[in-house]
């Protein structure tokens, strides 16, 4: 069960355990004041067909906050985030080793949501409707420019490899 609480100016439901519904994190991003929503779909367990987070909700929000603070966006306004681990590695975010998360651009004022993104394109047209696989290479270059990853890890990630 969730109850409504006020969190930094927004009327939001209280945090609920993942998998039991949707909830909004009681903090907003440091740069754009975006709110963030946890979706049941992406907390569905290790054998879910959907990409599923393997980190806790505080860390999940930290990935989103990093994406916003570092302005890791593509040309459509979607944000992409990761968590640094050591000198030249990234933390695993998803149940299948995913290390990059995507946050589709939300409507004005609506909370954002996100999920670990598969390293290779696994949806053929018409699902992708001719889109190129995301994130676009320019996003990886922005991650490098921001210091989140180095050149080696950028090239590996662009090739669909782990780091």
């Amino acid at each position: 069960m969730s109850a409504a609480v006020r969190a930094e100016g927004f009327e939001v439901p209280a945090m609920t355990p993942s998998g039991q519904g949707e909830s909004v994190y009681p903090r907003q991003t440091d740069r754009s004041n975006y709110s963030y929503m946890f979706t049941a779909k992406h907390h569905g367990g290790p054998r879910s067909r959907d990409a599923t987070w393997s980190i806790n909700q505080d860390d999940e929000f930290a990935v989103f906050n990093t994406a916003d603070v570092m302005e890791l966006a593509d040309d459509d306004g979607n944000l992409y985030g990761a968590l640094r681990e050591g000198e030249n590695s990234l933390r695993t975010l998803g149940t299948w080793g995913q290390q990059i998360a995507e946050f589709p651009c939300a409507s004005e004022g609506a909370p954002w949501h996100g999920y670990p993104i598969w390293a290779v394109n696994d949806e053929a047209p018409p699902h992708r409707r001719g889109e190129k696989y995301r994130p676009a290479p320019v996003v990886f270059r922005r991650m490098e420019a921001s210091g989140l990853i180095n050149r080696n890890t950028r090239v590996r990630l662009m090739g669909g490899h782990h780091v």
């Binding site: 695993t92 696994d122 190129k132 090239v155 662009m158 669909g160």
Partner: protein, 379 residues
């Protein structure tokens, strides 16, 4: 612009090839055109050189989406080029259709290779494993071996050979790994799977590449090494962890009986480990000399049993694996190890370390992979 000049030898073990300006190398390996090398770029292009780095052809379009190339292989008169966006199939110049009329399969792959029997094989992540034989034409359907259920992931594939038949093994990340005898004419394949308590398996390689052998090495992201004498039937593989292996493990490769591990921190050459393991000699003691070459690499591939190409941020290092094989002691007796200390070399360190024998009990299982036909589109 059109050369990969080498320095002629800046190290006893390797020479450096510098890519042309603006060509950021993401993959390097054997040339599908014959002798020499092939280099793929982050812009989806390929260049072909001879053994000395002399330009032969390119830069040519390898990826129709101009995505970063992560694999190149040849089967028959076709060359496959893989990216995270799609797998491209290009006819060789001079064949029907010419190089400019390729076919792109609209699923991304973590790489691509080919089997001795002439099939392309590509790990497609949760989609499954692509297995298809040329030729490819517009509208061609491609076979994908798919478990049809969540819980499997194809991240890397190794091709082995036994009894004149292809055997495919794949790394499945936290689900472990799987292996199956590949019957091209069957609608499904019986896959043996093994999960090592969630150990994140990221790569694997045959221990006797090009030969009739089911010996295989698998690599965990933490640097753990799993050795199989027979990947289809060996229920008790050996799992080793050399404490000196630092960084995130990327690749495991084997030739001439040696095993190479590439991590984010170094290249490790485990002299004679594969040969001694397959010969039934003990490998869990400090009998394996380990050559440590610190470097921060992107990727690596073997070119037969002659060269090891290591992709660096601004260069490609070409190691002479025969020289490395001949220069490292192949084993050390138990008595000798007491007196041996790490030996600093001008290009790295030669260590004698006692690996940890991990008593990981594999959880074995089986799954039926169904063969599905998926259409390709014209590139």
């Amino acid at each position: 612009m059109s050369r990969f000049p080498s320095n002629g030898g800046s190290s006893p073990l390797f020479t450096i090839h510098y890519p042309p300006p603006g060509f950021e190398v993401s993959w390097a390996g054997p040339s599908p055109l014959g002798r020499g090398f092939c280099f793929g770029s982050t812009e989806g292009k390929v260049v072909f050189t001879d053994d000395a780095g002399g330009f032969l052809a390119g830069p040519n379009k390898g990826s129709v989406s101009f995505e970063t190339i992560n694999g190149v292989a040849r089967a028959g008169t076709f060359v496959a080029v893989s990216t995270r966006q799609e797998v491209n199939f290009w006819p060789l110049p001079g064949t029907e259709g010419g190089h400019s009329h390729g076919v792109a399969f609209p699923f991304g792959a973590h790489g691509v290779t080919s089997t001795p029997s002439g099939y392309f094989v590509a790990p497609l992540g949760r989609v499954g494993i692509l297995t298809e034989k040329p030729p490819f034409r517009p509208g061609t359907s491609v076979t994908v071996q798919s478990a049809g259920e969540p819980g499997m992931y194809a991240y890397a594939v190794a091709c082995l050979r036994s009894g004149g038949r292809d055997v495919l093994a794949f790394a499945a990340r936290s689900a472990g790994m799987g292996a199956f005898e590949f019957f091209e004419d069957r609608p499904s394949q019986n896959v043996t799977t093994v999960d090592f308590n969630g150990l994140d398996i990221v790569d694997l390689c045959p221990l006797r590449p090009g030969e009739e052998s089911l010996g295989l090495a698998a690599l965990g992201r933490d640097g753990s090494l799993i050795l199989f004498k027979d990947v289809l039937h060996d229920q008790e593989p050996i799992t080793l962890n050399y404490g000196i292996v630092e960084g995130v493990a990327y690749r495991v490769l084997s030739c001439l009986g040696d095993i190479y591990i590439l991590t984010s921190k170094a290249l490790y050459a485990l002299a004679g480990l594969g040969r001694r393991f397959l010969a039934g000699e003990p490998v869990d003691g400090p009998t394996t000399p380990v050559l440590v070459l610190p470097m921060e690499a992107v990727d690596a591939n073997l070119c037969g049993d002659r060269w090891l190409l290591v992709v660096m941020p601004d260069e490609v290092r070409k190691f002479d694996v025969r020289l490395m094989h001949d220069s490292a002691p192949q084993s050390i007796s138990q008595g000798e190890t007491q007196a041996l200390q790490p030996k600093p070399l001008d290009y790295g360190k030669l260590l004698h370390v006692h690996p940890n024998l991990l008593r990981l009990k594999g959880k074995w299982g089986g799954v039926e992979q169904k063969s599905e036909r998926v259409s390709a589109s014209v590139a």
